[in-house]
Symmetry: C2
Subunit: 136 residues, 2 copies
DNA sequence: TTGTATCGTTTGACAAGTCAACGATTGATA
DNA sequence: TATCAATCGTTGACTTGTCAAACGATACAA
């Protein structure tokens, strides 16, 4: 297993990421990151940006900017935590719930990975990525 | 298998890509993309940017910019194809061969994926990614 | 009460990708 | 042969990530 083989594998991961992220956006209308972000917030009902950071392992700066965009689109509302004015509390709006639910029911989205891989393979892939990601 | 589960999986791929690319760069001193690019050129001895594009599935603009950087670092030389003045021919330099060989022999690089996954698992992962990437 | 450290977020500068528009060459064809 | 289309590469504008510096709270110690 030499470096060249490793770089080939890693480059395949890069390509997969690009393909997959752009397909997701094309088919759902949501950028993958912002979709995840909305779901993370929604699951917590209300949450701080620090929580988003910990859950998504993404830089603070990126969070600030994504939330700005989501706010402009009317998908989230933000307000300072009254008990700790350093924190911003984020909450998804009714509109976000609707639009998320809408593309949830959209069959098209299923064409993504499901077309390429069987359920068994998806499960395998998920396990391997988990291993890979936890070793960081 | 609903959309939320899919997005989780795709987001894992995104995280993996980020981890893996930055580890690679930290440990080899080469950005993953530029390392691949040098190898692709080296394997062909001389090649046009179109060939790089087809092999690496990367945008033309990105190639132009990476090659500019590689040229500045003295890793590649470029010259117009005398028979077709539209094409640029790229070639790696002696210095590139040396530096690539140097980090090839560097054990550190092996800590990357190899630490997280067994040979068998790497093989599995590679297969799954291949399937995923060919379905695009 | 007054520093000082820490926290949570924001901002700016950079990297690396995309797409779209352009320029120079080349090839095809009317 | 003159023109028109296709090819190859470059450039500019944009996206989305990073890191580092800055900033307004807050907490705590002297």
């Amino acid at each position: 297993m030499d470096l060249r083989e490793i770089s080939r594998l890693l480059y395949q991961i890069k390509l997969a990421e690009q393909n997959v992220a752009s397909s997701f956006e094309r088919e759902t209308g949501f950028s993958l990151t912002r979709y995840e972000m909305l779901q993370v917030v929604k699951e917590r009902d209300v949450c701080s940006q620090r929580e988003i950071k910990e859950e998504m392992r993404i830089d603070n700066a990126a969070i600030t900017r994504h939330l700005k965009i989501l706010e402009e689109k009317g998908y989230v509302v933000r307000e300072r935590n009254a008990e700790n004015h350093r924190e911003m509390f984020v909450r998804v709006t009714e509109k976000a719930e609707q639009d998320l639910g809408h593309c949830e029911r959209d069959e098209q989205a299923n064409h993504l990975v499901l077309q390429a891989l069987s359920d068994e393979e998806i499960h395998q892939l998920s396990g391997l990525l988990q291993k890979l990601n936890s070793h960081t």
